[in-house]
C-alpha cells in the first residue's frame, strides 16, 4: 500500500501540494504532472520491482498525445477507447483469458512475468471516459497540460475515485480557497482514513485470514458468519479509507474530489447500495456500459440483461477470476430481482419501521453473502456455504 508510507507524504504529497499553492495558475497543472510522474516512477520502481513497470509512464504520455486528436463525432475517439481496453486486457486479463481459451492445451501462452502498471484499472477508465465524452461533445478538450494533470493526479491514481474531466477541469482552473481551511479538512480526512484502515480493516484480517479451506474445515460453524461479516466490514473500511486518503490528499491541493462511499451498509435496497458503494465506479458503469446498452429504455427482458451485463463487467473489473464473475452475477441477479419486485410493488410513501428494518436486513445480508465469492475462489466459497448452511 502506498498511502501508508512516509515517502508518499514527505516526498510527494506535501511538497506537491505546497508547490501547487505557491505556483501561478498557468504552472499549476505542470506541478501536478511533475509530482504525478515522479510518484508513478518511484512507486512503480520500488513497489512493482524495476524499470519496466516504471517505463509504463510512457502510457500516459502516449494517451496525452492521442487525446489531442479527439473531437466531437470523430471516429478517432474510438481508437482511444480501444487502446485503453487493449491495455487493460493485455496487462490484467491475458493470463485469465489464456487459462480459459487454452483450457485443454498442455502448453499455454502465459505471460510469465506479467505485472500490473500502477493504477491501470483506474486510469484506463479515465481514458475511456475522456474519449467517449469528447466524442459526444460532453467535455471540452482542455490544454495538453490540463489533460496530463487530470490523468497524472496522483492522489487518485492508485485506487480512485475515478474522476470526470468536466468536474476536475473547473477545479484545476479555479482560484484556490484559503489554504488553512483546505489543509485542516484534508488532514482530518487523511488521518481518519489511516485510522480506519489500520484500526478497523487490518484488525479484521484476524478473522478474514481464516477464509481458506483448511481453516473453514476445522472451525466451529458458529464463527463462519462472523468471518464473512468481518470481510464485508474489512473491505468497506479498507476501500473507503483509501478514498478518504485520496480525497483528503486532493483537498490539500484545493481540488475537491467527489465522494466514493456514502454509508452503503445503511441502505434499504440493493439498488441504493450500489448508488452508495464505490460511487465513481457505479456511475462510470452506468454512463459507459448500462446506458450505451440501452439502459432502461428497452424491453423489460433487455433491461435485466443490461443490468446483469453491467454487473458482470463490474465483477471482472475487480479481478481476473471466475469468482469475481460470479460475484458480479450475484449482484446482477439481486438487482434484477429488486427491479422486478419494484415493478410489482412500488416503494411505499412511509414504510413502517419493521418493514424498513426488514429491507435493510435483506440488503445487508445479500451484500455480505456476495462477498464470499469476492474473497475466495469458487471451490472455497462453495465449501464455505456448505459448511455454513449444511454443516
Amino acid at each position: 500500500m502506498i498511502f501508508n508510507t512516509w515517502a508518499y507524504y514527505l516526498f510527494f504529497l506535501i511538497p506537491s501540494a505546497v508547490l501547487f499553492r505557491l505556483s501561478p495558475p498557468r504552472l499549476r497543472p505542470w506541478v501536478i504532472i511533475l509530482g504525478g510522474s515522479l510518484f508513478f516512477l518511484f512507486f512503480s520502481y520500488t513497489a512493482l520491482g524495476g524499470l519496466i513497470p516504471a517505463a509504463c509512464l510512457g502510457i500516459f504520455l502516449w494517451e496525452s498525445i492521442t487525446s489531442r486528436f479527439y473531437r466531437p463525432k470523430f471516429w478517432f475517439c474510438w481508437v482511444g477507447v480501444m487502446q485503453a481496453v487493449i491495455l487493460l486486457f493485455v496487462f490484467k486479463y491475458w493470463n485469465f483469458f489464456v487459462a480459459l481459451a487454452w483450457f485443454h492445451a498442455e502448453q499455454k501462452p502465459y505471460w510469465t512475468h506479467a505485472f500490473l502498471p500502477l493504477g491501470i484499472s483506474f486510469f484506463t477508465f479515465e481514458f475511456i471516459h475522456y474519449a467517449v465524452d469528447r466524442k459526444q461533445g460532453e467535455t471540452e478538450a482542455g490544454t495538453l497540460g490540463e489533460y496530463l494533470a487530470f490523468i497524472l493526479f496522483f492522489p487518485t491514481m492508485v485506487a480512485g475515485p475515478i474522476k470526470r474531466y468536466q468536474q476536475f477541469l473547473p477545479k484545476l482552473r479555479a482560484e484556490l480557497a484559503e489554504w488553512p481551511q483546505d489543509w485542516h479538512r484534508g488532514i482530518t480526512r487523511i488521518l481518519t482514513g489511516l485510522a480506519k484502515k489500520f484500526a478497523i480493516a487490518d484488525v479484521l484480517t484476524a478473522y478474514t485470514n481464516h477464509l481458506n479451506v483448511a481453516d473453514i474445515a476445522v472451525a466451529n460453524r458458529a464463527i463462519l458468519p462472523l468471518w464473512l461479516l468481518a470481510y464485508g466490514m474489512k473491505i468497506y473500511t479498507d476501500f473507503s479509507a483509501y478514498s478518504d486518503i485520496a480525497i483528503g490528499s486532493a483537498r490539500l491541493f484545493g481540488i475537491p474530489i467527489p465522494e466514493n462511499f456514502d454509508w452503503p451498509y445503511l441502505q434499504t435496497n440493493i439498488a441504493q447500495f450500489w448508488r452508495h458503494w464505490h460511487i465513481s465506479l457505479t456511475s462510470w458503469l452506468m454512463d459507459y456500459v448500462y446506458i450505451p446498452l440501452g439502459g432502461s429504455r428497452v424491453s423489460p427482458g433487455r433491461v435485466y440483461l443490461n443490468v446483469i451485463t453491467t454487473m458482470l463487467i463490474s465483477g471482472i473489473w475487480h479481478g481476473a477470476g471466475i469468482n469475481f464473475v460470479l460475484w458480479g452475477l450475484w449482484h446482477g441477479v439481486a438487482l434484477g430481482i429488486h427491479r422486478a419486485y419494484r415493478r410489482l410493488r412500488p416503494v411505499p410513501q412511509n414504510p413502517p419501521p419493521v418493514s424498513q428494518f426488514g429491507s435493510w436486513l435483506l440488503t445487508f445480508v445479500t451484500a455480505n453473502l456476495g462477498w464470499a465469492f469476492f474473497s475466495m475462489d469458487v471451490h472455497t466459497a462453495l465449501f464455505f456455504f456448505r459448511r455454513l448452511f449444511v454443516g
Binding site: 484476524a206 485470514n209 466451529n220 458458529a222 462472523l226
Partner: protein
C-alpha cells in the same frame, strides 16, 4: 441555520501544536509503559549479579534451555548460582555482544562463557536497517548505539531515521506496542478455532519458520557457508570475553530429533561443523556439539526450544561437563 466550519491560520497552527502536545504525552506514556522490557530486565539482573562467574549467552534457545541453578547449584540456599543466563530471545549476535559488554562491566570475576547457537548463526552476516529494529532488537537504540552501528549498513536516510527514532520512545519502542495489537489479533483469530500451542516466546508453530524449508535449502546453505568466516559480532564476542580472561565454549544447542535427522545427519553439515570447529580452535575457543543430547521429542515445546523438563536435563548435563573449573577443556567435543 448551522454555520459552515471556517478555519483561520491561527486555528490551523494551534491545532497542529495541540496535536504535537498529545503526541508528546503519548511519547511519555510509552516510555513509562516500556520501562521493563526484556532487555532492560536482563540488564537489571546483570547489575544485581556481580558475583556471576559462568555466563550463558545466545538467543532464545539458550534463554529457554539454560537453568543456572541446575547447571551450577549455589553453595547454600541463600546464595546466588555462580552461573548467569545472559541470553535473550529474538536476538542476533549484535545484541548478544552488547549484552556481553554490559555483563563484563558488572561481573567481577567472569571465567567461563557458554555461547549457544544453531544452524548458521555464527557465519550468516548480520546487517540491520532501521525498520528491523523492533522487539528485542531495540536494545540497539539504547545500549551503546554508536558502538553497535558498525554492524549496520546505513545510508544517509537510514542514519537520519535511526538518529530520530532512538530519541523518541514512541518510535524506538514501537515493536512493544505493536506486539500488544498482534496479541489482540491472535486472540480474535483464535475464536472458533482449535486452540494453538504457545510457549513463552509465542506460537509454537511459528518457530518452524526459523528452520530451513527443506533439506535442499539447508544443504545449499551449508555449501555456501563451507568456508565462511565468523561474522563480525561473533568474532568480537570471542575477543571481548578472552580479553577479560574468560574461557569460551561455543555450543550447538539441543534440537528436536526431526531437525537433527533432516539437517544435521548430512555430510555437508559435518563438513561445515568441522570448518567451524577449526576456526574456533584457532582462536582458542572450545566447541561442543549438544545437538543430540535430548533425543526425546516430547522434551521440546516447538521446532527449536526445550520444555522446562528438557532444559533441566540439558543444564544438568552441561553443568556436569563444564562447571568444573579444572577441566574446562573437557567441554570441547563433537557428536557426543
Amino acid at each position: 441555520m448551522q454555520e459552515k466550519l471556517f478555519i483561520t491560520h491561527r486555528q490551523f497552527f494551534g491545532a497542529i501544536l495541540a496535536c504535537l502536545a498529545v503526541l508528546a504525552a503519548g511519547n511519555l506514556m510509552v516510555q513509562r509503559l516500556t520501562a521493563h522490557t526484556v532487555y532492560r530486565r536482563i540488564l537489571a539482573d546483570t547489575r544485581a549479579s556481580s558475583s556471576a562467574q559462568i555466563v550463558a549467552l545466545g538467543n532464545s534457545l539458550m534463554r529457554s534451555s539454560f537453568v543456572p541453578e541446575t547447571f551450577a547449584p549455589p553453595a547454600s540456599p541463600h546464595d546466588q548460582s555462580p552461573a548467569f543466563n545472559l541470553a535473550m530471545g529474538a536476538s542476533t549476535p549484535v545484541e548478544q555482544l552488547l549484552l556481553l559488554r554490559a555483563g563484563l562491566r558488572s561481573f567481577s570475576k567472569p571465567r567461563l562463557l557458554l555461547y549457544g547457537f544453531y544452524d548458521f548463526q555464527l557465519t550468516d552476516p548480520v546487517a540491520f536497517s532501521n525498520t528491523d529494529l523492533i522487539g528485542n532488537h531495540d536494545i540497539l537504540y539504547y545500549e551503546e548505539p554508536d558502538f553497535a552501528r558498525r554492524y549496520f549498513l546505513m545510508n544517509r536516510y537510514e542514519s537520519v531515521a535511526f538518529a530520530v527514532t532512538r530519541r523518541l520512545p514512541m518510535l524506538a519502542e514501537r515493536g512493544a506496542v505493536w506486539a500488544k495489537v498482534e496479541l489482540l489479533r491472535r486472540h480474535l483469530g483464535q475464536q472458533g478455532m482449535p486452540a494453538e500451542a504457545t510457549n513463552q516466546f509465542g506460537r509454537a508453530a511459528d518457530f518452524t519458520l526459523l528452520e530451513a524449508k527443506n533439506r535442499e535449502e539447508f544443504v545449499q546453505h551449508c555449501a555456501a557457508s563451507a568456508h565462511a568466516e565468523l561474522n563480525a559480532p561473533v568474532s568480537e564476542i570471542i575477543r571481548e570475553a578472552q580479553q577479560q580472561g574468560m574461557f569460551v565454549v561455543f555450543i550447538v544447542m539441543p534440537l528436536p530429533p526431526k531437525h537433527v535427522q533432516s539437517f544435521y545427519d548430512t555430510p555437508v553439515w559435518t563438513t561445515y561443523q568441522k570448518h567451524i570447529q577449526e576456526t574456533l580452535a584457532a582462536q582458542n575457543v572450545a566447541y561442543l556439539d549438544a545437538s543430540r543430547w535430548i533425543p526425546d521429542a516430547s522434551k521440546f515445546g516447538d521446532a527449536l526450544h526445550l520444555t522446562p523438563q528438557g532444559a533441566g536435563e540439558f543444564s544438568r548435563r552441561l553443568g556436569g561437563l563444564c562447571s568444573n573449573s579444572d577441566n574446562l577443556s573437557a567441554c570441547s567435543s563433537i557428536g557426543k
